[in-house]
Point group: C2
Chain length 286, copies 2
């Protein structure tokens, strides 16, 4: 059941890149999602070699974006180049928040639209797809002014219209979008347009911890009906990886092997629950 499971390497934050690769290979997890900082720690060329030899699929690189920062263009082009080196065709884009001290959300969103449109041809020439990731609205001010899947798709359509590039899509992450009353219709739209470039899962924990960024939990530990999302994404014809990305201090304090074992166990439960009738989905739990 793990053939389409990917470990996002921040889930096992205590592991180096080499340990994460070794962990996935040992456990039979076929995919890994990477972060630029972890790759840089290891050295890009050496990381690329390690991954090539491992046989793992690199499902995505996190992250480009932050289009409201002054150096966004060089940073994003570098991120695209790293995708090429690492053998992944998906760069996840986190839009960036309001400029420091600014309150003009409309202008910030316009800057994001312009940035994506500018970046798309550079990425297309290198066979890299851009996956715009809507972040939960609680991160709108400081991390991402893209807050819903519908908005991300509007941006992808705009970038395609303006640049002529078809490589712009979205990252569907259950944690960020589960609350959205329009979400299932937008997943359908994303799938129909073949714009689901990444599918990340984790749960939403309640209460939200003191550091709101760290309220992500193992599948089944929170409030999201994740099987419903798996069914919706699969129903569009998406047959890519399901990448598990968890930011959580308790998870990070757990040895990597144990965390990966939990990820695998929950993934197997999730796949079973997703194959069942919707009514039973609410009982998923580790």
């Amino acid at each position: 059941m793990t053939e389409r499971l990917a470990l996002n390497q921040w889930t096992t934050k205590g592991w180096s890149l080499a340990e994460a690769v070794e962990g996935c290979v040992s456990a039979g997890v076929a995919g890994i999602g990477l972060w630029r900082d972890k790759v840089a720690e290891h050295g890009l060329d050496e990381a690329a070699r390690l991954l090539r030899e491992s046989g793992l699929t690199v499902t995505s690189l996190c992250r480009g974006g932050f289009f409201t920062a002054p150096d966004w263009k060089a940073e994003n082009e570098a991120a695209v180049d790293e995708c090429v080196a690492l053998g992944t065709d998906v760069l996840v884009l986190v839009a960036g928040g309001l400029p420091q001290g600014g309150k003009d959300l409309t202008a910030a969103r316009r800057a994001v639209a312009d940035g994506i449109t500018t970046l798309a041809p550079y990425a297309r020439e290198r066979n890299v797809k851009l996956a715009i990731e809507p972040l939960h609205p609680m991160f709108c001010a400081d991390r991402a002014v893209v807050s819903t899947l519908g908005q991300a798709l509007d941006l992808a359509e705009e970038a395609e219209r303006r640049s002529g590039c078809e490589n712009v899509g979205v990252c569907v992450d259950t944690y960020h979008i589960w609350w959205d009353p329009q979400v299932f219709g937008q997943i359908e739209r994303a799938g129909a347009q073949r714009r689901i470039h990444a599918f990340q899962v984790c749960d939403f924990l309640v209460p939200i911890p003191a550091d709101a960024l760290l309220g992500r939990g193992h599948v089944g530990d929170g409030v999201i009906d994740i099987p419903a999302f798996v069914r919706a994404v699969r129903a569009t014809g998406y047959d890519g990886f399901t990448e598990v990305e968890i930011f959580n201090q308790d998870v990070w304090d757990t040895p990597g092997e144990r965390t990966l074992r939990t990820v695998i166990d929950r993934h197997e439960q999730l796949m079973r629950a997703s194959a069942e009738a919707p009514a039973s989905a609410t009982t998923l739990r580790g």
Copy 2:
């Protein structure tokens, strides 16, 4: 500039009802928004008498709702009755979250739609308007499965269609909806349908505090372009009160008189900024 300003009494949480009424009258603030718990502390009949004699407009009563709780019907009818006693025609509805341990968001939203439809005739017979308040998506699981203004308006339309009652509308609260890419279109829709039954303002503080409920700040202290919201709401023809509702430990630790003075000062700045061209709105600050 304070003729259409209302103090929501939770902003001065340390004040009893009598102190809040006295504070508003002394400061020339014409409106007050009440909470059921504070009214109960004072005693309903005595509170009603106090408010009548004060000459204040009671802009709203918080709150009905929580339609996913077992006793929702009796609680909401009691809340409507209290509106009548207190001389306000607006009951704010906070929908309620997922049932304990449940993950079926669709079913919870259905229960809310049914609850509002059921409550509407009871309220209409008593000349009370229902103001559905969308809450920030970070409260979706535990407080309100109504997360956007568009969703609240859909619910209001559904309740009217099913019950034949025209008294169902929304509460527009800047803190909860500022991030929504569709928000200005939805404010226009709400105004065109004459469904803006309450307008609450406060700012969104970043970073979010450890208790996410308390991240509300005085107008100007956070990331929201509040003048843009005042302009949008006023442009629909809304000429009711602007009610200031702040949950914030520092504000609560400040003497009521000082907090009310800050509320008034910021309101005056806000009214000036809202009357100016949009470009200057981003500099609003106390």
